[in-house]
Symmetry: C2
Subunit: 684 residues, 2 copies
């Protein structure tokens, strides 16, 4: 790719972004789009006025100012700690890449003044982008020591930032906990593997165990029941009743009335079945229960100390918030959970490997000549300019986007199979899976293009990894610069513009003529967004000293993202469940991995560039980075896993001094964790 | 090595063993040797009679019968659970290798009937041992599938045994805990990283913290004091006073009396210094304390839940038994412990690498010709048969033994630097280090003979490991068969015979004329013995289907060891501190590693033998073994780390019902954990 081509791409995408931003600033002011652009505000009763004035049709940047001016405390109040942590990813990245830019300013001229690639200096616009990369520095040149120092200085700076972010967010986590309202799940643990005792039910067994061993703190429990059959019946009945409602609202001729009658009868039997199942359900106890205690510290004791003599029995884990429980794959057996964990891991790997199919398909589409040799009959069609442009230009990314659309739900499914019971845990685990998937299919698949077997081989020969990566990674610099500009910038502006929702909203209003009153405020789904952002972080860190030209585009991406996502958190998304900042360790780990990857590539590069001393002196850097990470893991990560005794006891006492020994929700405890299906009050 | 040479080695070593056993059976009956052969019995007042009769001078096997007949419960009463676990290593190994023998009986003829090595069948005694190994099976032969099945069946059997042993020992551990006397360390945790508060001492800080958060269970605490200077002074004074005592007991001439006077003055000033230090010591508090609770469960709560908001403060860990505390390297700071952990690991690796020096020296000694070219002036001496025999035969193993003698104390030192505070923890960690060291210097150093760099290289190319090992390991079969017979058998009989102690005892009585009344009953030092036994287990497992000829010799070793060590536990060693079976997980992990190593070699061998299908079908076996291990780690290992709540609370209540709420040692608690130096009552 030459410089002018890059500038063209940047120009087009910049124009597209500008267009989207302008359109958004106008469209968001139209009250008909409020359900698309401000569902959160609508739900809070703060929807924009619909009075006619000229200002409504003029683009303005008022939303940018609003997003910018909102303080972190306001954001905390509106979107919870997760929202704050999400935004801190952008702040952290902006800090990192601002510093990287300074380093880049020093490295760029050094790269450009090298003459390893022997090109003339006169024709700047037609210069290959490679002349700005480390490939252009002469082999064995002493200037490479500047790159060497850059790696050390940059790593030190990033580690310092990581440390201060961990410190900041973990203290924020404790503060949030202290100021939080008492919630039932803080007093509760989920117990799995209740042993079978002859003659008594699981419920009695739980009562006996906890009244025996925790007489002063045990409060009550709710046994888990197997409801999958019931769930199926209820959802069937729900569907049917909706269809009936719809049919009744339109007019009928003879045959349709027959249909109506049949449906109504079917619904009646279904409802009867549901009632029967609900009465039967008391017998279908599962050896698992939500056990509640009188204090948070009491629950923590049951959580942190192994309960039973047999470690597969009486296993305790954190209880999720009642509305956060995800039942379908619930399993109470130790061995089953253990097995499903490995099944999920294997499935995740298989899914990643299978995904290389579409990737290869896409790669073949960009090489039309190959396609022509495979399918000779396509020759006529493919020779048309327009068709070939569509196929090579838009189709590949469309296909990839389509497939990638299914990644988050698949990973959520895998994580829920794995035995996590709360949405927050599932999402955290899915976030790790999506991150692994994204890095593998975007970064490594492009860098080590070739068969999966070849890629596996690369990683089996530990010794060769640096040199293989050092050859392959710089070669893809141009691709990834384009990737940041196209995919990165566009994804941000389309996040703002919400094209699909906008069209769907228009279609529903104009064609179907429905003014839906039921407003669904979407949740931010951080788990699917964080991996994308981290991928760009990885690109920036690995290409820092290989091709510093990527840095300004990344910085623009992060600045855009900062403004756009702040705006979205304020107006569109509303928090559904709160992990209280547990997403940050993912960001931390991903950054550490990116740094180590950068070091490995550096070791290879300096070897290739014939200064083995720099290559050898590079080795301590990943070791030190991993040691730093280990220190952080012990120093801060415990705070992200559970709250310390000091916190819990303080909070317990604060509550007691305000509300007395019996907290208000202790009385309705019984209903909090009951499966909504079993209660049966939401039916029809 | 040919078969007759092997038989000669076996014959010589068998005769040696027999000699040692016979000598032992006579010498042990002489009361003058009681301090060598039955210090434990002497200490218990059960020393053998010294009346003269003929039977005293006849060899007998009565000790074998006694060792054999002792039941496991008796052993438990005498040597604690650690002794039982130690003996179970032998029982486990005997079971494993008895089964392996059956497999070996099938494999031996198959190996022998192959003709890959093309030798004639007629001359059995002169046949190379290689014709009994897998190398002799024809390439691509279908008979190799028998070896393949052997690997699967053997792994299944060993895993079954491992599972049942874990089950047995973990339940034994719980039983022992239930029947144990209440001990102060069960009620105590060690707290490190007490934060500095202005105006109050660490002691007050601890009191404030625990009375605030654990008002109902907190009992008392003992602050740790820095006493290294004091320790030095006390040990100096001790030495001096002993020397004085000795001098006084002999007669003097003029000059010696001067000496005496000078020593006495020196001692006086020393004692004064000690008293001064002791009075100063209250100021030298270290931010660490032993905190005792009113119940075991109370201590467990403080142990398992993070206490402070800052994870580097208020760190709790299990308290060792008071007599088990090892002070010299005590450190209270989180960061210091974290750093010293890595220092210890690096030191351990460096020590292993440095040890290759002596190993190479030894290897050069066995190749005299090379030595002659290096040092031409030695030619004359080396050509003498006797000298050359001594140098090639005895010197190498003597040098190695000498060096290996320093391994356990070095590893103990490293583990105590690492931040462990109790002897039991130090020994457990040292056991792992010695095991790693032994396997590396004995197994890998011999298998992958060559420079350290070459060996490191082998493990960096993951893909080539199986084939490299498959070539190298079978080549050393003969060496290791000889190793089992010489080192294994001899070490067992010398353990019984205690040559050095016997000579020292004789020397002291006859030459020095001292009848020492002070009897030191030695401790069994399992941590230095277990790695040796596990090394033989590793050899047996890896050579099972490569060279089954090793199996009978191993079985003899384990049977000898079983009898000898049972006898030693009954008569010689006395338990000093009790880990309550915590050594077993080391045995378990080592066996799993041996199995996986065997599988990796099998994958390589089947590849070399040109049946790639078997090689491929072998891959699931290590995966399944590791999965099995992971299951065991979750199913049983928690029980080896700490006792579950059920146990602790039951035990607490049992105690209370017998002894009331205040246990007898609660009153003298203050003195239990105090550093003996600081008490000052043992001086002189």
């Amino acid at each position: 790719m030459i410089l002018s081509a890059l500038l063209t791409t940047v120009g087009i995408n910049f124009a597209l972004c500008l267009l989207f931003f302008t359109l958004y600033s106008v469209l968001r002011k139209q009250s008909v789009n409020a359900h698309v652009y401000a569902p959160r505000l609508v739900a809070e009763g703060k929807s924009p006025r619909s009075d006619f004035n000229l200002e409504r049709f003029l683009p303005s940047a008022s939303w940018v100012r609003k997003a910018w001016e909102t303080s972190e405390d306001e954001l905390l109040a509106l979107s919870g700690l997760d929202g704050v942590v999400f935004m801190r990813i952008f702040i952290f990245s902006i800090k990192v890449f601002s510093f990287a830019m300074i380093i880049g300013f020093i490295l760029l001229p050094i790269n450009f003044l090298g003459n390893q690639l022997t090109m003339d200096y006169s024709d700047l616009p037609n210069k290959s982008l490679e002349s700005f990369s480390i490939s252009n520095v002469n082999d064995g040149s002493n200037r490479l020591w500047i790159h060497f120092s850059a790696a050390y200085i940059f790593t030190g700076f990033v580690c310092y930032l990581l440390y201060s972010e961990l410190k900041y967010i973990s203290s924020k986590r404790i503060t949030c906990f202290h100021s939080s309202e008492p919630k039932i799940h803080q007093f509760t643990v989920l117990v799995r593997g209740i042993p079978v005792s002859s003659g008594i039910s699981f419920s009695e067994s739980v009562d006996n165990f906890f009244t025996l061993y925790y007489p002063s703190t045990y409060l009550s429990h709710v046994i888990v029941r197997r409801t999958s059959k019931l769930q199926k019946l209820i959802s069937d009945a729900d569907d049917l009743s909706k269809r009936l409602l719809h049919m009744k609202s339109t007019k009928y001729t003879g045959r349709k009335v027959d249909h109506l009658d049949r449906y109504e009868k079917k619904l009646e039997t279904l409802v009867e079945n549901v009632r029967m199942e609900q009465s039967l359900i008391t017998g279908q106890e599962v050896p698992a229960a939500f056990v509640s205690f009188k204090s948070r510290f009491g629950a923590a004791i049951a959580l942190h100390i192994k309960q039973g003599i047999n470690p597969t029995e009486w296993n305790t884990e954190e209880a999720p918030e009642p509305q956060d429980v995800y039942w379908p794959f619930f399993s109470a057996s130790f061995t089953k959970i253990w097995i499903s964990k490995y099944v999920a891991i294997v499935a995740c790997i298989v899914f990643t490997v299978l995904f290389f199919g579409p990737v290869l398909l896409v790669q073949s589409l960009t090489h039309l000549d190959q396609l022509e040799t495979w399918f000779p009959f396509l020759k006529g069609i493919l020779s048309m300019t327009f068709v070939s442009q569509v196929i090579t230009g838009y189709l590949p990314s469309l296909i990839l986007q389509l497939f990638q659309h299914y990644v988050p739900p698949t990973m959520i499914l895998l994580s829920s199979i794995q035995g996590y019971i709360g949405h927050t845990h599932i999402e955290k685990s899915a976030c790790y899976k999506i991150l692994w998937f994204t890095i593998w299919t975007v970064f490594f698949a492009n860098v080590l293009s070739g068969s999966i077997l070849y890629q596996a081989n690369v990683f089996l020969e530990l010794k060769n990894i640096p040199s293989v990566l050092a050859i392959a990674v710089p070669g893809q610099a141009e691709f990834f610069i384009a990737y940041v500009v196209t995919t990165g910038w566009t994804s941000t502006s389309s996040e703002l513009f919400q094209m699909i929702n906008l069209i769907w909203n228009f279609f529903r209003r104009k064609i179907l003529g429905r003014e839906d009153d039921q407003l669904a405020v979407p949740s931010a789904n951080y788990y699917s967004k964080i991996p994308k952002i981290l991928l760009f972080g990885l690109l920036g860190i690995t290409y820092l000293f290989l091709a510093p030209l990527i840095l300004p585009f990344l910085l623009v991406y992060f600045c855009l993202g900062y403004i756009v996502f702040r705006n979205q958190l304020l107006t569109v998304y509303s928090p559904k469940h709160e992990t209280n900042g547990k997403f940050w360790p993912i960001v931390h780990n991903s950054t550490i991995c990116s740094l180590v990857l950068m070091h490995i590539i550096a070791i290879g590069i300096f070897g290739l560039k014939k200064i083995p001393l720099a290559s050898g002196l590079m080795i301590p850097l990943p070791v030190m980075t991993l040691l730093f990470n280990n220190y952080c893991q012990r120093r801060f990560i415990p705070l992200f896993k559970s709250y310390p005794a000091e916190c819990l006891i303080k909070k317990d006492r604060d509550d007691q001094s305000i509300m007395g020994a019996t907290l208000p929700f202790f009385r309705q405890l019984k209903f909090e964790f009951e499966d909504p299906c079993a209660l049966g009050d939401d039916l029809l």
